[in-house]
Amino acid sequence: MYIDPHVHMVSRSTDDYVHMARAGCVAITEPAFWAGYDRSSPQGFFDYFRQLTDSEPRRAAQYGIRHHTWLCINPKESEDPIFAREVIALIPEFLKKQNVLGIGEIGLNKNSRNEMEILEAHLQLASDHNLLVLVHTPHLEDKLKGTLLILDAIRRFPKLDPGRVLIDHVEEHTAKHVLDRGFWCGMTLYPDTKCTPQRAVDIIETYGSERIWMNSAGDWGHSDPIAVPKAQMEMRRRGHLESLVRQVTFTNPERFLSQSGRFSAEPLRPTAPDITR
């Protein structure tokens, strides 16, 4: 049994839901992200938020998987602050939806001033509404700098408790910075550009298992929606106790996400397809 706390199911097929359910996935959380192209209007985000809060949870339920989401405009589309603020203004009405856990995945991409301005606008929204935060850290050569800028930015919002903020896509050079400041961290199991299952387990062995989870971040790119059960296999291969496997792939995400008051990983009987839609 496992939770995949970061996966972009709007980009995945029904076959992926079948494979995930068979591999033991009982609950997922889906952060709002970049579609692979820039939306041409804020209305494009309005429709995306409807998909995340309405149709995708129903699709997941057909496979017995509980679907939750996070809302934002992602940093890749934050270079135009006027556009981005129009999108942020749409978010409060969606916060009433029962599967919305908080704001995410916000953060930085190229570590620009405009991205930082929009990151701060999201942090203000989370602070005002006392919401959980899921943070995307930049890719590759931009990750270390971006992670440190993000950690400093969050510190400028004293109402945001680090225990309610998860910094995602950590690797060997950023995990300790995140954990030392009291935040949660997520490791993304990507075939090429982030962590392999082996390296993710190395990071747990090096930095401990207290505030850490693993996710597939499966999306429209080269990614693997059943990466988390592969990391479970890697832990077992090394002889780790089943209790540790469960902690990092179920209990930890459940503990962090339950702070929202809306998360559930209770067994869900698969629903029938809605033939009226």
């Binding site: 190229k110 001033r113 590759l140 050569e141 700098k145 002889g239």
Partner: protein
């Protein structure tokens, strides 16, 4: 796992990856003479970390490939990343 168990479990997999690295470098040579771009310069520097006998090689290689600056850039001209820091700043 003991030291011997780690080697037993992973040697074959990483023997293959070592050969992948060697074959990649051979492929570049076969493609003709020229100068390394910033990515390959960084790659060759990173390879020295593998054999320096010091711990935390993965962390140190990632740091070596990272942008060392500490303040936000004026604006983003691309969405992508190249995998290594470009000292010329042309790829931001």
């Amino acid at each position: 796992m003991t030291r011997a168990q780690v080697v037993d479990a992973y040697f074959m997999e990483h023997r293959a990856r070592l050969l992948d690295v060697a074959a990649f470098l051979d492929r570049i040579d076969r493609a003709g003479h020229g100068v390394d771009d910033f990515r390959m310069s960084a790659y060759r520097s990173a390879m020295t970390v593998l054999v320096d006998g010091q711990p935390q090689r993965a962390r140190r290689i990632l740091e070596l490939l990272s942008d060392p600056s500490t303040t936000p850039i004026a604006s983003a001209h691309t969405k992508g990343a190249t995998g290594a820091h470009d000292p010329s700043g042309k790829t931001h």
